[in-house]
């Protein structure tokens, strides 16, 4: 009961702030609402007993990525973005399309809700509490998901190299 209520509160916060992220004209305000969204998602993880994920979500997204976002935002001319004409003119069309998509999703998820093989909450939760959520994540990363875990390191390397290649200063060589 408590968890359901919390879930609805967190989801509400997440969705409302997510909408505000894209409707705010001021980029810094968007960033603040993005922080709210990310924290609310961390809260949802907590209600699902995924404590490790919640912690990592806050560290990586709020503490890392969002701070870098804000860092970059401050380096660009903000007052120009507020007066500049944005080229998202077709918003009626977009709104209609989005509404249709939402209706479609809602219908399918409503029709298919019995499909989700939800385990009875009492059966699964204690087992996780005993072994510890972080250990479970660690064990499955290093055993079953070893290969994707290793490839993910290549993925990160590619991203770093790519960022450096695209942004490094012009040298005398160029």
């Amino acid at each position: 009961m408590l968890e359901t209520t919390l879930f609805y509160i967190f989801s509400f916060v997440a969705i409302v702030s997510a909408i505000l992220v894209i409707t705010q004209r001021n980029v810094v305000h968007s960033a603040i609402f993005l922080a709210a969204t990310l924290l609310a998602v961390a809260g949802i993880f907590l209600t699902l007993h995924a404590e490790f994920l919640a912690g990592v979500q806050v560290i990586v997204y709020v503490g890392g990525i969002l701070v870098l976002f804000v860092f970059v935002i401050m380096l660009i001319a903000l007052n120009r973005t507020e007066v500049e004409r944005q080229f998202n003119r077709q918003w009626t069309l977009a709104a209609i399309t989005a509404a249709v998509l939402v209706a479609e999703f809602a219908y399918v998820i409503f029709r298919g809700k019995e499909t989700f093989p939800l385990p009875s909450a009492t059966a699964a939760a204690p087992a996780i509490a005993v072994t510890g959520n972080s250990q479970l994540v660690g064990v499955s990363l290093y055993t079953n998901y070893l290969l994707p875990f290793e490839i993910a390191s290549i993925l990160l390397l590619v991203a770093i190299v790519g960022a450096v290649v695209l942004s490094k200063k012009k040298t005398a060589e160029d």
Binding site: N26, V28, H29, I32, A35, L39, A42, E51, F52, A54, G55, V56, V58, I59, V62, G63, G64, L66, V67, L68, V70, F71, M74, L75, G132, N133, S134
Partner: protein, 361 residues
């Protein structure tokens, strides 16, 4: 919800939070006095002497001054963000304390019957901490990383040059040092095999040695990065008085300023407490196996904890009195080119040793 779980999950934590909050405010207030006194002594001065004997009432006078001061909001500031920023910084700085274990799980509350209602309350044991999360360490890192946002937003919202520069410096510094900070803790994690702070202290008890002796490099890295994370000298670039006036909080005054101030000192206490918990045995007393020193066991755990924290707070003040500030490029260089490689090497060496020696688990 029955009475027992009400007591366990709501009443007891609330009482503890109340006590902790009161104590913390007091400690922070007197930490400021301590800072002024110690620095004064180091510089052969007397420090505050007028308010109360030896200036002991000075923090209260300061507090009243901050409350009564005019609250100025720059006319072109972003008012909402300007107000929000100190709060964003303060809240994480305080809620981190929820998981810090000040003492062992040893508070005994005998069972009793509430007279008149005839309700039986069971006997229970609780600890000198608000809660013991299984992701305690992660929680500390996560929550304290939110605080950075407040500093950056505060600097931006002031709509003024010096605060913006301070905020930018702060963002870069925090992000850079957070990485090394995370790596420096990994050695402890691998040895203890748990993220729960209470269990980490217990693991040190079982290992028979505080982790500072097993992880000296990790400790030094942790404390350097911790000082940088709290924006204290010699890493106080975000608020460098001599170049940026006061950095991100130049435009803040009165009560809002005091929030930033509180957060900074709370963060200092957090870093000291974490250093004690992770590396210096938390509430454990020194020399547990020397019989002649058995009387040390009479001192309760939380006092040992407080004593150790005090030592680290003293270090903070000592640093401030003795070291000049780093230049920005030096700061970045140290963070990425010195601390990071050492931290990674430390992780690798520790991992190999833990595997090789079969671990302390």
């Amino acid at each position: 919800m029955n009475l027992d779980s009400f007591i366990d999950w709501i009443l007891l934590p609330l009482i503890k939070i109340g006590i902790l909050f009161g104590l913390l405010s007091l400690v922070i207030a007197y930490l400021t006095l301590l800072e002024r006194k110690i620095i004064a002594f180091m510089q052969v001065r007397l420090g505050p002497m007028r308010v109360g004997p030896h200036g002991l009432l000075q923090p209260i006078a300061d507090g009243i001054k901050l409350m009564l001061k005019e609250d100025i909001v720059p006319s072109r500031a972003d008012k909402i963000v300007f107000t929000l920023a100190p709060v964003i910084t303060l809240i994480p700085a305080f809620i981190v304390f929820a998981v810090i274990p000040f003492g062992p799980r040893s508070i005994h509350i005998p069972g009793f019957t509430i007279p008149g209602l005839n309700v039986q309350v069971a006997e229970r044991t609780t600890g000198f901490f608000i809660t013991d999360l299984n992701i305690g360490l992660l929680y500390v890192l996560a929550v304290s990383s939110i605080g950075i946002l407040g500093i950056i937003l505060g600097g931006w919202a002031s709509n003024s040059k010096y605060p913006l520069l301070g905020a930018l410096r702060s963002a870069a510094q925090m992000v850079s040092y957070e990485v090394a900070l995370g790596f420096s803790i990994m050695g402890v994690l691998m040895m203890a095999g748990t993220l729960s702070l209470v269990e980490i202290v217990n693991a040190q008890k079982n290992a028979g040695a505080w982790y500072v002796f097993l992880q000296p490099v990790g400790f030094i890295l942790f404390f350097i990065c911790g000082v940088a994370e709290t924006n204290r000298a010699p890493f106080d670039l975000p608020e460098a008085e001599s170049e940026l006036v006061a950095g991100f909080h130049t435009e803040y005054s009165g009560f809002r300023f005091s929030l930033f101030f509180l957060a900074e000192y709370a963060a200092m206490i957090v870093v000291s407490s974490m250093a004690v918990t992770l590396f210096w045995g938390g509430w454990l007393r020194p020399f547990p196996n020397i019989a002649a020193l058995g009387f040390l066991g009479l001192v309760p755990g939380f006092l040992w904890f407080a004593l150790k924290v005090l030592v680290f707070l003293y270090f903070y003040l000592w640093f401030r009195a003795s070291w000049p500030r780093y230049r920005y490029d030096q700061l970045m260089k140290i963070g990425w080119q010195v601390l990071m490689p050492i931290a990674i090497a430390n992780v690798i060496v520790t991992a190999v040793l833990v595997l090789w020696l079969g671990g302390s688990r």
